[in-house]
């Protein structure tokens, strides 16, 4: 491995890293909002919307991200919606992640003991107060492990963005290999940067999980 090559490519990878991170986090943020909204709709069994949410979940959980991205990137313009590659990446990741986040949060919501709600009712709290102060915090805490698993999964999924010519890590690696054939160095940097992106999430995640997990209250 040539250290000079590594140093030479480093800035390019750095840029790609930042872009990947940006799309990744925006997409994950979006997926979280979609997840909360959809889980809310499923939990309260809101008619019509509930059917739409269920169809959405099935659709996005059962198709690869690559296909979803192609649809958004090449399909939407044909329908008259023009959207940049970057928004397309964020939207794609957000929609895919949203379907997974919905499931994670929904199971968390359903895990809240009915008696907890009864005791909140007996304290004359109204529905909104019970949802905000009793149900949601407990649901988020108990769905923390799947949420974190989803975050890591989604960050890894960013590697397919190169397909819609976003200059992400994967794209940069493939591009450089194609141009200069420094395969070893390029792949090494690719792995390093992905680890750099995911390791902090993993570590931070497990700390966070311990802190908020249901069983962890008061440890």
């Amino acid at each position: 491995m040539d250290i000079n090559v590594l140093l030479e490519y480093l800035p390019l990878y750095g840029e790609a890293f930042l872009l990947t991170l940006r799309i990744g986090w925006l997409g994950i943020l979006l997926s979280f909002f979609i997840g909360v909204a959809c889980a809310f709709i499923l939990y309260f069994r809101i008619p019509i919307l509930r059917t739409i949410v269920k169809a959405y979940i099935e659709l996005f959980r059962n198709t690869p991200l690559l296909v979803q991205l192609f649809f958004l990137y090449f399909g939407l313009p044909k329908l008259g919606f023009h959207i940049s590659a970057l928004s397309c990446g964020v939207l794609g990741l957000g929609l895919l992640g949203g379907s997974y986040m919905t499931e994670a949060l929904r199971s968390g919501l359903e895990a809240v003991e009915p008696m907890q709600i009864q005791s909140a009712l007996a304290l004359s709290m109204n529905k909104r107060q019970i949802f905000a102060h009793i149900i949601l915090p407990q649901a988020i805490a108990s769905s923390m492990p799947p949420i974190l698993a989803n975050v890591i999964f989604l960050l890894k999924e960013t590697s397919v963005f190169s397909a819609i010519s976003l200059m992400d890590l994967m794209f940069t690696a493939k591009d450089l290999i194609g141009l200069y054939y420094k395969t070893t160095e390029c792949l090494f940097l690719l792995v390093v940067f992905y680890i750099l992106m995911l390791l902090p999430v993993s570590v931070l995640g497990s700390i966070l999980e311990k802190k908020v997990r249901y069983a962890g209250f008061g440890e």
Partner: protein, 247 residues
């Protein structure tokens, strides 16, 4: 005319099965009414009808002459006057003890946070748990949790307190610490409706005993009279189930 809680011809069904039949009960201010009866006779259901956690099919429940009925808009307002303590404590696991007891006063009654906390600390001190204010429920013993649950109910300044077998889930050595808190409340003149399987406690705390069986009030009597001379065969049989004899 100092009655707080009245039920008139209360009738409750679950999916067509009658669980409570024609229950007429009046609880006066300062009175302690203890409900006893075999398992499944409808005691919990009755308490839950009193604060509108259950719908009823016929009759009515009145608190301070206001009808309690699930679905009525003012239900949460009327409920503020009724405190309830459950067998399984039901403290909120994600909140500290202090947060548990001040949540509803602050959010529901919009009371000043500092003032609510001050009162909470005074009440926690009375049960010897002020040192636990920043602990989480899971760090407390069952008896401690149940006493906190009582404080949580008291924090709403209810006019009447409902207790549903609040010692049934406790280890025997913790039963007394909880019952003593309730006895102290009775001495203060609190109005209470208590469901319990602790017969010695029932006799000590009650002004009146209601014996419920098969969803009906079978006997209603002063505690000494009920425990020494039950009037019905069913009550006799029920009380006998608590004594042991070597055969």
């Amino acid at each position: 005319m100092n009655e707080i809680l009245v039920t008139e011809h209360l009738h409750k069904e679950y999916e067509g099965m009658t669980v409570l039949e024609d229950i007429n009960l009046t609880v006066k201010k300062g009175e302690v009414v203890v409900i006893v009866g075999p398992s499944g006779c409808g005691k919990s259901t009755f308490l839950r009808c009193l604060n509108g956690l259950e719908t009823i099919q016929d009759g009515r429940v009145l608190l301070d002459n206001e009808v309690i009925n699930p679905g009525r808009k003012n239900l949460t307002k009327v409920r503020e006057k009724i405190g309830m303590v459950f067998q399984s404590y039901e403290l909120f696991p994600h909140k500290t003890i202090l947060q548990n007891v001040t949540l509803a006063p602050i959010k529901v009654q919009k009371r000043d946070k500092a003032e609510a906390q001050k009162e909470a600390l005074a009440l926690l001190a009375r049960i010897g748990l002020e040192g636990k204010k920043d602990s989480y429920p899971r760090q407390l013993s069952g008896g401690q949790k149940q006493r906190v649950a009582i404080v949580r109910a008291l924090m709403m300044h209810p006019e009447i307190l409902l207790f549903d077998e609040v010692t049934a889930a406790l280890d025997p050595e913790m039963v007394r610490e909880v019952l003593e808190v309730i006895l102290a409340l009775a001495k203060e003149g609190r109005t209470m409706v208590i469901v319990t399987h602790e017969m010695a406690f029932a006799r000590a705390v009650a002004d009146r005993i209601i014996f419920l069986d098969g969803g009906q009030i079978i006997e209603e009597a002063a505690p000494d009279a009920f425990f020494t001379h039950p009037q019905t065969g069913r009550a006799k049989k029920f009380l006998e189930s608590f004594s042991y004899e070597k055969k």
